[in-house]
């Protein structure tokens, strides 16, 4: 059974065993506006929790995407190379950006549930 978590930087992560799937929240996609480019991470890249994983560009801005958990990149969503607009259409499903092999499952304690994230967002 997978579980979704969110970060303060508006990434989401879906945890399946030790596999983490990462993307950006619907709120983030909406704030960025039309996405023009997703700079996907390199396969095998290892990052620590909350370090820069990859980057995203919209008509308005360029932003970094931070890793919700520590680990190494297992796969990336190549569809985003040709169709970055999916991030606007389906940010929390079709537009996953990378899957990672988690190294420290206890890190999810530093993440938010959907409910906590919604509360957090209201305070912004």
């Amino acid at each position: 059974m997978s579980k979704m978590y969110y970060t303060k930087e508006h990434e989401w992560v879906k945890i399946d065993g030790n596999i983490a799937t990462v993307g950006i929240s619907d709120y983030a996609a909406h704030q960025l506006g039309d996405i023009t480019f997703v700079e996907l991470p390199k396969l095998g890249k290892t990052v620590k929790q909350f370090e820069v994983l990859c980057a995203i560009e919209s008509v308005k801005a360029a932003s970094d995407i931070y890793a919700p958990v520590s680990g190494s990149v297992l796969s990336v969503n190549e569809t985003l190379n040709t169709r970055p607009e999916i991030v606007n259409e389906s940010p929390e499903e079709a537009a996953w950006m990378a899957t990672m092999k988690m190294t420290d499952p206890s890190e999810v304690a530093k993440l938010m549930s959907r409910k906590q994230y919604d509360e957090y967002r209201k305070g912004l």
């Binding site: 390199k42 560009e57 360029a62 970094d64």
Partner: protein
């Protein structure tokens, strides 16, 4: 009239704040010899007096027949270039701050990018850079970003000034620069093979080399790509009328100086630099890029595109901190190439090559002069003299000929070598003069 708005009181206050005693102390890091000796300028002159004075000064220059190249070249500039580039619609050197309001400027830059792509055989060009040397440094940084590696290999046969610029630009980056001393005026392929490893972001070469030697880097491209590194080539734009293009060789990023495309020598500038790359690297390209699009009603229009790379959006993570280009000089390059056309450029390149070959034979016949490298050349070539080239250059100047670039300052052991350049502007008579005066300078 005072050109600075600050009162002496304000200046004292500012100096006190930063803890500096005087204006002189503020500039103490500039060597004394380079500082202004005095700001007491002579009294003003009328326009007529000033022009007379300038003509008088210019007349002291005297006539010297130039055979000097080494990066800047004495080419014919069609009158259309000065005329069109001088039009008020274009006569600004800077990127417009509301670019899309200036559709004409953007279209000109778009056309410029198109000719640079055709010239280099590569897919993507930006709207120009400062000059050939800084373009080379930007290309090296681009390769570092693309590969995520930390070593750049420079061919020692690259223009030494441009190599110095690369070192300056990269000085504060955690990057290692390896320079390979050239062999016979060209890249030392053997020692390169030993240096090409998984740390290497790019191999940087030049065609023709600083010695004038023409190379085909096709096999080198394959070798470099096998290591997942990039091949960067500096090129002499006019030579591409005749030589194999970087794109044909498999080069990833091509750069060059735009002076030879319709810009006056003017003691070394201003001109422009160009950079072109394979399309897959466009997001790592520095500077402005103009794109073609359609407006709401389907009409063709131009925009600055891919701006998310740039510093006004991406801040310190921008691909480069360069947001300027050399629009006016790049426009001159465009008008120059458009005036010549494809066939004109080929003809121009052939004239250069033919005249240089003629001069090469004439100089080889001069007693004591030899041609050390038996390889094809374009419009410049190395000659070896029986004396120090510096001295020969000095005595040739007295004879009314600027004979070339002496290599000793850049390549130890080459003190007797000289690079001679012959453009389409040099006549048969001038080439005969060159050979005759060289014979005289060497033996009289």
């Amino acid at each position: 009239m005072s050109f600075t708005p600050h009162t002496p009181e304000e200046i004292r206050e500012m100096l006190a704040t930063i803890g500096v005693g005087s204006i002189g102390d503020l500039f103490h890091s500039i060597p004394k010899a380079l500082r202004a000796r005095s700001f007491d300028l002579p009294p003003g002159m009328s326009e007529f007096e000033m022009l007379s004075r300038l003509h008088e000064m210019a007349a002291q220059n005297g006539r010297v027949v130039p055979f000097v190249g080494g990066g800047y070249y004495d080419h014919v500039i069609p009158a259309a270039v000065d005329h069109l580039a001088g039009r008020a619609e274009f006569y600004t050197a800077y990127t417009p701050y509301q670019p899309e309001c200036s559709q004409g400027s953007l279209q000109a830059l778009f056309e410029y990018q198109t000719v640079i792509c055709r010239l280099t055989g590569l897919e993507a060009s930006n709207a120009s850079l400062y000059d050939g040397g800084t373009a080379l440094a930007e290309a090296a940084m681009m390769a570092l970003r693309v590969t995520g590696r930390d070593r750049v290999i420079l061919d020692g046969a690259l223009n030494p000034f441009h190599r110095a610029i690369v070192r300056t630009y990269l000085a504060n980056l955690p990057v290692e620069i390896v320079e390979l001393p050239p062999v016979n005026g060209m890249l030392d392929r053997q020692s390169l093979a030993g240096k090409l490893d998984d740390r290497c972001a790019a191999v940087v070469v030049q065609n023709p080399t600083f010695f004038g030697c023409v190379a085909d880097y096709s096999d080198l491209a394959a070798q470099v790509h096998k290591r997942d590194a990039l091949l960067i080539s500096a090129v002499y734009a006019v030579s591409l009328g005749l030589l194999k293009s970087p794109g044909e060789m498999g080069v990833d990023i091509a750069v060059g100086d735009g002076q030879n495309l319709g810009n006056h020598l003017s003691f070394g500038g201003p001109a422009f630099g160009f950079i072109a790359a394979k399309k897959q690297y466009i997001r790592n390209m520095p500077g402005r890029i103009v794109g073609q699009t359609v407006d709401r009603e389907g009409r063709r229009g131009f925009v600055l595109t891919l701006q998310a790379r740039e510093q006004h959006i991406k801040r310190h993570k921008a691909t480069s901190n360069i947001c300027s280009n050399q629009s006016l000089c790049a426009l001159r390059g465009l008008i120059f190439l458009a005036s010549l056309g494809k066939r004109g450029l080929v003809e121009l390149a052939r004239l250069n090559r033919d005249k240089a070959e003629y001069a090469k034979r004439a100089l080889a016949a001069v007693r004591g002069v030899s041609i050390p490298f038996d390889v094809p050349t374009f419009n410049e070539f190395t000659i070896r003299l029986p004396k120090r080239a510096d001295d020969v250059v000095a005595s040739m100047l007295k004879r009314g000929v600027a004979v070339g670039v002496p290599l000793g300052s850049y390549y130890p052991g080459e003190e007797n070598s000289l690079v001679v350049t012959v453009t389409e502007k040099r006549t048969k008579g001038e080439i005969a003069l060159l050979a005759r005066e060289l014979e005289g300078a060497l033996w009289n």
